[in-house]
Symmetry: C2
Subunit: 322 residues, 2 copies
């Protein structure tokens, strides 16, 4: 998602985050150590630590002060992935078998709990109470988003606001918190913190919308998971909401969506229907609007190199469209 070149500024520091992350997921118990190490090897973009470091450039940047935050953000993200894997009953993530598939459902639950609890140890080091307050609030909301996603699955009666409610909690709030806390920890001014908080929020919304689009238009190799996995699980994303309203084959789409036992051919047919109306373009446009809002927030920031990096990151998110 984010080009390597964009992160040149913080590349070395992200490597140190990775080393710390390795240290923190290490566990004295074999199945826990195995499953955590497996998760780490699966990689990931370390997007949340990256945003925390970038945001910190707008204050007094100190890696020592940032490391616990950066690691804890990734741990919270990993913990939620592990629990989602149990929930989704998905067998691959990023092209590798999930913890769930390789170990036992129960180990997944406690591995997620373990990673989350480890993040708290790091968070509790900060004297500034806002770090713990923001992250606990976000964690509560992330759970709400997950539950909402489960309870609305296979439900075709969904509106835009239901979708935005979910992706805000599922993705945008933690990215927003990464920007917010990175700048708070480095002592940036309230105005800068606010700008970065909203930048992260709008960018996170666009990021999830793009992800949901890619789940339909990318191929399995790019995705690292089967195409149309949201549809298969009955998760109603933005393109589907549009198509259910505007496609001339909306009744066929509806029928596929609500079928809990649909096979891959039905999923592919549904994707064809979604692609056949303006749903993908419409969704990219919404994402684009969020990205514009994100970039607008940067106006309040001083004109340092990282400001341009944040602009380019926003430009980059939709680039796969063209």
């Amino acid at each position: 998602m984010i080009e390597h070149a964009l992160l040149r500024d913080i590349k070395k520091d992200l490597k140190l985050v990775e080393i710390e992350l390795n240290y923190y997921v290490d566990a004295p118990i074999q199945p826990l150590a195995d499953s955590s190490a497996h998760l780490l090897r699966a990689g990931g973009k370390r997007l949340r630590p990256a945003f925390a470091l970038l945001a910190a450039k707008f204050g007094e940047y100190s890696l020592d002060k940032l490391l616990p935050l950066a690691v804890s953000l990734e741990l919270i993200h990993m913990a939620s992935l592990v629990h989602d894997d149990v929930v989704d009953e998905s067998l691959t993530r990023r092209g590798r078998p999930t913890v769930r598939a390789q170990w036992d459902n129960r180990v997944s639950i406690h591995t997620g709990d373990y990673l989350f609890a480890k993040s708290l140890i790091l968070i509790s080091q900060y004297e500034d109470a806002r770090v713990a307050q923001v992250l606990s609030q976000v964690s509560v909301k992330m759970c709400q988003g997950e539950i909402e996603q489960i309870s609305t699955a296979f439900d075709a009666q969904q509106h835009l606001k239901d979708y935005f409610y979910r992706i805000k909690r599922k993705t945008a709030l933690l990215i927003s918190a990464s920007c917010q806390l990175g700048s708070i920890v480095s002592g940036a001014s309230d105005e800068i913190v606010k700008g970065l908080t909203f930048y992260g929020y709008y960018l996170g919304m666009a990021f999830q919308i793009t992800d949901d689009i890619l789940d339909m238009i990318a191929d399995e190799a790019e995705l690292g998971k089967p195409v149309g996995s949201d549809l298969r699980q009955g998760i109603v994303t933005l393109p589907v909401i549009y198509a259910l309203k505007h496609s001339d084959k909306r009744e066929e789409l509806l029928e596929i969506l609500v079928d809990r036992r649909k096979g891959q051919p039905a999923v592919l047919r549904a994707i064809e229907i979604v692609k056949g109306c303006e749903a993908i373009d419409y969704s990219f446009n919404i994402s684009e609007k969020y990205l514009e809002k994100a970039k607008k927030q940067l106006d309040v920031l001083p004109n340092i190199k990282t400001k341009r990096t944040l602009q380019r990151i926003a430009d980059f998110i939709n680039i796969r469209r063209y």
Copy 2:
């Protein structure tokens, strides 16, 4: 476990804890609100809040300061119960269907996460960093204990130290933290905090040992769950470790223990074997030793009424033996 009369001192305040607890588990999303409310109605002894309040009597007792702690301790406990229910695949707890049985496995995972995250919001209110530090450390260890319990299930090659390792993490550390933090929040002296921390630890060990004994000798009505549920799940408790070493029918016991598909008649036969040697008495004696250690810790405490309450609680834990 703890007689009503023993808690007379803090009875009113425990009711306020209950009201706060109701407030905090309330959720804006239906399945979450339902499953949380269900958990609350299932009751429970509110043992951890009770210990926090009792411990606070040795400092400057202020319910306002204690409430967030008391509620968060119970939330952490509830969260771990919910995740255990997924893990244990048990269908009843305290005589009521578990969240797992009434709702979906996935809702259980996120309900647990939600309750835990809610506890963090409360914890992050404390300026004293020790509150968050102790509870995050304990949470990490609770996960280790759970994973260890899963990975050692159906394994007959276990020693006392494996059992103590598990029950320390599963039960004793959170009870210890309840006593420790109750006294810390009320500003008690370091000596008193230390005494209460160890009191809670030893008492928690005895509490879990007694629980494990009761799982074999009590009846379903008392337990609120079927007799021998540990044995059925392959969880090797203290009486079983003793019997596997000393019973003249140890080979038959071993065979039943490691059978993952045993029925209730086999479980009952195993219990008969355990009861047939000195295993139950032996286990009560170990519990008794922990209780003596717990009471010894009280020596450093000033001679207020609550000191006698804590002594009586320790006396009470083994009383069902006679």
